[in-house]
C-alpha cells in the first residue's frame, strides 16, 4: 500500500472539474449525494460504481435520465458488495488496469441486508472501495429503522409515544465490525468534515484490495432539518461526539479527532424533528452511551 505522504492530496482547488453525479433526483440538501459526488470526483473517470436499492440508486437512474456521468449500475439490495466484486474481478479478467470499483450503499443496505455480501467481499479482499453513506434509517422507503438507527430516533417503524421513546437500540458498531475482518483500510467520516472525507476516499483509492468508509450523511427529509443545514448538522454530530472520525490501517485503530470538550448533545438533537420527543432521561442514556464509547476508544485507539 502507498504511504499516505506519497498520495497527492485532493481538495476543492485541485480536484477535477468534472461532475460524475449530476442531474439526480435526490431531495434538496441531500447529504448522501454530497458523499457520492465528492467520492466520485476523487476516484475520477475510470470508476465503476455499484449501488444497491436505496436513495442514491433510486434518484440516479430513472430512465432515460442517467445521473451518473461515468459507469454505474444498480445492484440487488443484498448484493451490492458481491456485484462490485464481480465487476472488479470481471474487468481484471478482461485485462483492464488502472480502474477502481466503488459501492455506495445506505446504512440498511450495508449494516443489515447487505452485510453478508460485504463480509464476503472483505474476506476475499476484493479490489473494491465500499462506502456506506449513513443517514441512520431506511430513507428511500420512507424512514424506517435500520441497524444504524441510534437510540431514541423516531422513525415510521419506531414511532415515539407514551410507551416507547422511538428506537430502543443503539447503532451497531459497524466500523469495528468491519475492522475485525482485518481489512487493509477502513475509516469513518462525515460530510460535515468534507476535506477529511476527501482524504480518506483518496487513501482508499490507493489501497489495493478491499477498503471501507463509513460516512455520516444527513437527510433533511428523514431527520426533520432545514435543507440548508445538511452539512452543519453532520458537523454537529461529530462535534458532540455521537459520531467519531477514525481510521483502521495496518491492524491499528486511529482516532483522528479527539476534542477536549464535546459540543452539546441536546443542542444537536433538538435541531432535528426525529429527536424532538426525547426526555432528559433519554438524553442521559444517549450521553452515557457516548461517554462509554469514547472512554473505550481513547483507551485503545490513541
Amino acid at each position: 500500500m502507498n504511504k499516505v505522504l506519497d498520495i497527492p492530496r485532493v481538495n476543492a482547488k485541485n480536484m477535477t472539474d468534472k461532475e460524475f453525479f449530476y442531474g439526480h433526483k435526490a431531495c434538496a440538501g441531500c447529504g448522501g449525494s454530497i458523499a457520492v459526488r465528492l467520492a466520485l470526483k476523487v476516484l475520477g473517470e475510470r470508476t465503476y460504481t455499484a449501488l444497491p436499492a436505496g436513495c442514491m440508486s433510486a434518484v440516479g437512474f430513472i430512465f432515460p435520465q442517467m445521473a451518473f456521468n461515468s459507469n454505474a449500475i444498480i445492484t440487488t439490495f443484498p448484493g451490492a458488495a458481491s456485484m462490485a466484486s464481480g465487476i472488479a474481478m470481471g474487468a481484471k479478467a478482461l485485462g483492464q488496469k488502472d480502474f477502481k470499483t466503488v459501492v455506495f450503499a445506505g446504512d440498511g443496505g450495508t449494516a443489515d441486508i447487505g452485510f453478508q455480501a460485504l463480509s464476503g467481499m472483505i474476506d476475499r479482499n476484493d479490489d473494491v472501495l465500499y462506502i456506506c453513506y449513513d443517514n441512520e434509517a431506511y430513507m428511500n422507503t420512507g424512514i424506517q429503522k435500520s441497524g444504524l438507527t441510534p437510540y431514541g430516533t423516531q422513525t415510521t417503524t419506531t414511532p415515539a409515544g407514551k410507551n416507547l421513546p422511538g428506537t430502543l437500540t443503539h447503532k451497531k458498531n459497524l466500523f469495528e465490525i468491519i475492522a475485525a475482518h482485518d481489512i487493509a483500510y477502513a475509516a469513518t467520516a462525515s460530510i460535515g468534515y468534507p476535506q477529511d472525507y476527501l482524504n480518506k476516499v483518496n487513501k482508499a483509492k490507493h489501497t489495493k484490495g478491499a477498503s471501507f468508509i463509513h460516512v455520516y450523511a444527513s437527510c433533511p427529509t428523514g431527520w426533520g432539518t432545514p435543507t440548508e443545514t445538511s452539512v452543519e448538522i453532520a458537523k454537529d454530530a461529530v462535534d458532540c461526539g455521537l459520531i467519531f472520525l477514525a481510521e483502521y490501517e495496518d491492524g491499528e485503530f486511529k482516532l483522528n479527532r479527539n476534542p477536549k470538550e464535546f459540543a452539546s448533545i441536546p443542542d444537536y438533537l433538538k435541531k432535528q424533528a426525529r429527536f424532538k420527543h426525547l426526555s432528559d432521561q433519554d438524553i442521559e442514556i444517549i450521553t452515557e452511551h457516548r461517554d462509554k464509547k469514547w472512554s473505550r476508544m481513547r483507551k485503545h485507539w490513541l
Binding site: Y22, G23, A28, S33, F63, M66, N69, E228, E232
Partner: protein, 97 residues
C-alpha cells in the same frame, strides 16, 4: 462547464428504439431540476473570496468555477441553500424565484 448538460430525448416509436436491456448512456439528462426551486442562490462576487466551500458541499454539484469566479448551473440547482448557509463570507444569498 465540465458537466452533463440537458439533452433532448427522442421518445421511442418502435420497440427497436429501446436499448437492449436496461442500459443507457452515462450522464444523459433529458430533464432539468430547475422546477424544484423556490429560492435561488445569488453570488456577491465582491464579497466572495473564492474559498470554494460552496463548490465542495453542493449536493447537486451545480456550482462551478469559471474565470476565477463561482457560477451556478441553474438548470440543476434545487435551491437547497447549503451553499449560502456554509459560505464563511455570507457572499451567497437565497432570493425568491
Amino acid at each position: 462547464m465540465n458537466r452533463p448538460k440537458n439533452k433532448e430525448y427522442k421518445f421511442p416509436t418502435h420497440i427497436d428504439d429501446y436499448p437492449t436491456g436496461p442500459q443507457y448512456k452515462a450522464g444523459f439528462l433529458p430533464e432539468t431540476n430547475a422546477g424544484w426551486r423556490k429560492v435561488r442562490p445569488v453570488v456577491d462576487h465582491e464579497a466572495c473570496v473564492f474559498c470554494l466551500r460552496c463548490y465542495l458541499v453542493c449536493p447537486d454539484g451545480t456550482i462551478f468555477k469559471e474565470d476565477g469566479k463561482i457560477k451556478i448551473d441553474l438548470d440543476y440547482c434545487k435551491g437547497c441553500g447549503v451553499c449560502a448557509h456554509e459560505c464563511p463570507k455570507d457572499a451567497i444569498s437565497m432570493v425568491k424565484e
